[in-house]
């Protein structure tokens, strides 16, 4: 592909992102299968601005950096709505404790996970940790036989597009990820890194929140984590295939410890 086309695409992406429109790649056909950050609302609660813009940026970065199509305009879905069962990905982000989920919400989440959906729990206030704890509590009611486990550093999530060493969000957070693994797939990812916060961007084109401890590199690594999660949603364990193993081993060796 030519450099000219690249620039045009970037400009177009920027324009569409600014206008809050949908994916450019598929322009309709292909839209149905495009990655979409759907914000899960429980008890009617959703992440408030400025973090809510992080979902758009997540989709934008995915389209800009990868071949994956994505819908830039985020959707909001309720845990008890049939719409939850129309796509296999949802982001459950929030802060602080929350009331117990209603029975329809529990049923909706259970059905979503049984169909093979992937849910990311993002604690937007990692220091307090209330949301993460509450989410674990509620998910234990949904999947009582599947407690969260720590994901190994060799998990495919850390190499689904970028090779990353640890999860990073607006805060550095813990160096590992916990997940509910069913079968061979991680179905619920628990982030204590305020990933949406790292991705949130104001209309003027500046990042809405500073990253801690700080630096452009940390924000870049947070974006890479978001891209990797999206790629894991779209390709599952593709990068665990035997055909990729020798390449990835060589690259990890080159990067050093």
């Amino acid at each position: 592909m030519s450099a000219g086309l690249l620039i045009r695409r970037r400009h177009a992406l920027g324009l569409f992102a600014a206008l809050g429109l949908g994916s450019q790649r598929a322009s309709g056909f292909g839209q149905a299968g495009a990655f979409s950050v759907r914000l899960l609302a429980t008890g009617g609660k959703l992440p408030a601005p400025p973090r809510s813009s992080g979902a758009e940026r997540w989709a934008y970065e995915l389209v800009r950096r990868t071949s994956a199509p994505a819908r830039l305009a985020p959707e909001r879905v309720s845990a008890d709505a049939p719409k939850l069962l129309e796509e296999p990905f949802a982001l459950w982000a929030g802060s602080g404790d929350m009331p117990p989920l209603s029975r329809p919400e529990l049923r909706g989440l259970e059905q979503f996970l049984k169909l093979g959906g992937l849910l990311v729990v993002d604690d937007l206030d990692p220091a307090g940790g209330g949301f993460g704890k509450a989410a674990r509590r509620e998910l234990a009611r949904v999947l009582p036989a599947s407690p969260p486990v720590r994901l190994d550093a060799s998990h495919v999530l850390f190499k689904s597009y970028y090779i990353i060493d640890r999860p990073v969000g607006r805060v550095l957070g813990p160096s590992h990820l916990d997940a509910i693994v069913r079968g061979k797939s991680a179905q619920v990812l628990f982030l204590s890194h305020d990933l949406l916060g790292a991705l949130a961007r104001a209309r003027g084109g500046v990042w809405s929140l500073e990253v801690e401890p700080g630096g452009a590199r940390q924000r870049e690594l947070a974006i890479r984590l978001a891209v990797n999660i999206a790629m894991y949603v779209l390709c599952s364990d593709y990068k665990d295939d035997q055909v990729h193993a020798p390449f990835l081993m060589r690259r990890r060796a080159r990067r050093g410890p």
Partner: protein, 730 residues
């Protein structure tokens, strides 16, 4: 009538013996005493002996027995070898003709016997048809036939006469005398043999083809080819070739070698790899040496049932989407699928925000390697929304088309970069897709649609799983690839409710055959909605797996997704009538249409077409006689997708593989069973077992009345007394 003599049956054996002994002692003493007589010595002796005998007659009272009845000839069974081997030429005629002539001679020779003429067909003895039929049997299992011959002949025979060339399947050539006797009935029955021929024709042949293991797709298979040379033919070094007969293309050479024939026998080991599972037809052929009198056994056409350990599938996707995710997840969940996947995660226009490749977990798309070196190793290829030009696939499309024509499976899944949108219109791949592609029309549209299930789709087992879940409902999809009209012989299962391809609704899901392979065109990019939609979720997502189970199963000719079970009623023999048995699946009504095409031809034309109007579950279709070769039978029931059966018709086949007669074996069988072995010209030397008399009337008459015996005895004793006195004895 027969006449016999007997003694009175009211005396016990002891009394009879006692009387005889007493009479003998009396005569002996009389003879000794007579020596002392002064005169008339002979008169004394004769009167005394007469007296003893008459008294003995009075005691034993002999009778005459006259029996009237009929003589029953002995039961003999003639077993004429009914193997196709006997159709081997012998002079101007065949061994079969000689055997039938011998059976006529036996009828004449054993004219007084009760003769049952049976035919040895594989391991069964059946009455020899009149007039005799052209044999189809491959084997001559005398042992099995003899074990059942009594029940077939209506009783235990006195003897069996076997008419054969001796190249029997059982008892085998290597059997010792004990095994031979057991193998030849083992019940003390004399077995005579008539040797119809004793000389081998000058012949080079493929005696046997063995494999060390079962044939598994993609795995090397060792073929051992045994080549024999007999009848004084000089064979030397004979080229051997193994080819696979495929549909729509010339025979593919799999292996070749040279057999160095020494001591009339050579063995060649050839390694082959069969890439496609299912019934494959292999041709194993040798070059006929000059003077070969039986060229028909220089070529074998053997069906191989090739299994697969796992389905090796290549999944290539142009971009990761939920549809790609769903298909990959489903494929990975199936342990029988060996999945090789390549997804384009980054195009040339994407900016990963790093120039350091080591930060990326991306590898180059090995398009050249995949579609040249490795392509034959895959059972099926799924191309999902990938642009052929952008990702340099276009140059490999001719090879991909050939791959399908030689038995591979192809599924093209829709999307903006699939079909015409991906540069496939006008390409070589177009000829193997089940639909036409337009280079001028818009490659896709974005209208919502609920595909309409066609009549074929409702009848096809490939969609039964989806129908079981959804009946005729389907979820809403967004957008569709532009597909043209279905190609001749292809079938449309789903069609667009609004868009048209010419005069007809546009296909959305179509199936087709191309050469040996099959292809599927699916013009949607969101089949994941069979699971992820209100309708799909209500069914627990089962419809998604059901659709892909069906599509992949049909592509790989899984019998569960065929519309019928098709098999030959008997192995096909060139020149003889061949029949197909077609068992339709429940719920597949309609006319049975059969089309037969030759394998190994580039542009095959139907050699037989049949249409059977029957509603029976099992339909037998007469194909008539077929020439030697490999064939593909396509059977279509009503509007369902066709089912295919590949089969071979041989002229010589296994029965002609070894043309040497084995007269020595016949001689040994006769020797160990107490029979006699003769040539056809010596049939008159065969012994005729004695007949059995069946009595209808028996008359017993006394030789003399008892009183007359007693009177005669008294007179003789009186005369003896007088003679003794006169002779000076006391």
């Amino acid at each position: 009538m027969t006449r016999a003599w007997a003694l009175s049956d009211d005396l016990s054996r002891a009394v009879t013996v006692g009387a005889l002994v007493l009479a003998a002692v009396s005569i002996l003493l009389l003879a000794l005493e007579t020596n002392r007589a002064e005169r008339q010595r002979w008169l004394v002796l004769s009167s005394g002996v007469l007296g003893v005998l008459l008294v003995l007659g009075a005691v034993l009272r002999p009778v005459r027995v006259d029996v009237r009845g009929t003589e029953l000839g002995p039961l003999l069974v003639v077993l004429v070898d009914g193997s196709r081997r006997l159709l081997l030429p012998q002079g101007e005629a065949t061994r079969r003709a000689a055997a039938l002539d011998a059976s006529d001679q036996l009828r004449s020779h054993f004219g007084t016997a009760r003769l049952v003429v049976l035919e040895l067909v594989d391991g069964v003895a059946r009455p020899l048809a009149e007039p005799p039929q052209v044999p189809r049997a491959v084997e001559s299992d005398l042992s099995s036939a003899l074990a059942r011959v009594a029940s077939t002949a209506g009783g235990r025979p006195e003897a069996v006469v076997v008419v054969s060339d001796g190249r029997l399947t059982r008892p085998s050539e290597s059997a010792d005398d004990g095994a031979l006797e057991r193998g030849a009935g083992g019940a003390g029955l004399p077995i005579h043999t008539v040797r119809v021929t004793e000389g081998s024709p000058p012949d080079a042949s493929i005696r046997r083809v063995r494999t060390a293991s079962a044939a598994v797709a993609h795995q090397p298979l060792a073929l051992t080819v045994e080549i024999g040379c007999s009848g004084g033919l000089r064979c030397g070094r004979i080229p051997v070739a193994v080819r696979e007969l495929r549909h729509g293309s010339a025979p593919a050479l799999l292996a070749s070698g040279v057999a160095d024939v020494q001591s009339d026998l050579a063995t060649v080991e050839l390694g082959i790899t069969l890439e496609r599972a299912g019934d494959r037809i292999l041709e194993i052929a040798i070059d006929s040496p000059p003077g070969d009198a039986v060229p028909e056994n220089d070529r074998r056409l053997l069906p191989f049932r090739v299994t697969r350990e796992r389905l090796r599938l290549l999944h290539v996707a142009g971009r990761p989407t939920y549809d790609v995710r769903a298909l990959r997840t489903w494929l990975k969940s199936d342990e029988s699928v060996d999945l090789i996947a390549f997804f384009i995660l980054r195009s040339n226009t994407d900016d990963p925000n790093t120039d350091d490749e080591s930060e990326l977990a991306l590898i180059p798309f090995p398009v050249d390697e995949l579609f040249t070196e490795h392509l034959p190793s895959f059972d099926a290829v799924v191309l999902q929304d990938i642009d052929a030009n952008e990702y340099k696939l276009a140059r490999h499309l001719p090879a991909l088309a050939s791959y399908v024509e030689t038995g591979g499976g192809l599924i093209m899944v829709g999307g903006p970069s699939a079909f015409a949108g991906g540069g496939y219109a006008g390409s070589a791949l177009g000829r193997v897709l089940p639909v036409e592609l337009s280079e001028t029309e818009r490659p896709f549209d974005t209208l919502e649609l609920v595909p309409r299930v066609t009549e074929v789709g409702r009848a096809a087992p490939v969609l039964r799983g989806v129908r079981d879940v959804f009946a005729d409902d389907l979820p809403v999809f967004v957008g569709s690839s532009t597909l043209g009209r279905s190609r001749a012989g292809s079938l449309v299962l789903w069609e667009h409710p609004h868009r048209r391809a010419g005069e007809l609704p546009m296909p959305v899901l179509a199936l087709g055959e191309a050469g040996d392979g099959r292809s599927i065109a699916l013009g949607l990019d969101a089949t994941y909605r069979l699971a992820w939609s209100e309708l799909g979720a209500a069914a627990g997502g089962r419809a998604y797996g059901a659709l892909w189970d069906g599509l992949l199963g049909w592509l790989m000719r899984d019998p569960r997704y065929e519309s019928a079970r098709v098999e030959l009623t008997a192995p096909c023999v060139a020149g003889l009538a061949t029949e197909l048995s077609v068992t339709r699946l429940p719920g597949t009504p309609g006319v049975v249409q059969v089309e037969i095409e030759r394998l190994g031809e580039v542009e095959p034309k139907p050699v037989v077409t049949r249409e059977q109007h029957s509603s029976a579950t099992v339909v037998t279709v007469d194909l008539g006689p077929l020439e030697e070769g490999g064939y593909a039978a396509r059977v279509r029931i009503g509007s369902t997708p066709p089912t295919r059966l590949d089969f071979a018709c041989e002229k010589g086949g296994e029965a002609w593989a070894d043309s040497r007669p084995d007269p020595a074996r016949l001689e040994r069988i006769s020797r160990v069973t107490g029979g006699r072995s003769v040539t056809a010209a010596e049939i008159r030397r065969l012994p005729l077992p004695t007949a059995t008399l069946v009595a209808t009337e028996r008359q017993v008459t006394a030789v003399l009345p008892p009183w007359l015996w007693a009177l005669g005895g008294s007179i003789a004793i009186g005369a003896h007394w007088y003679a003794r006195r006169r002779a000076g004895l006391g």
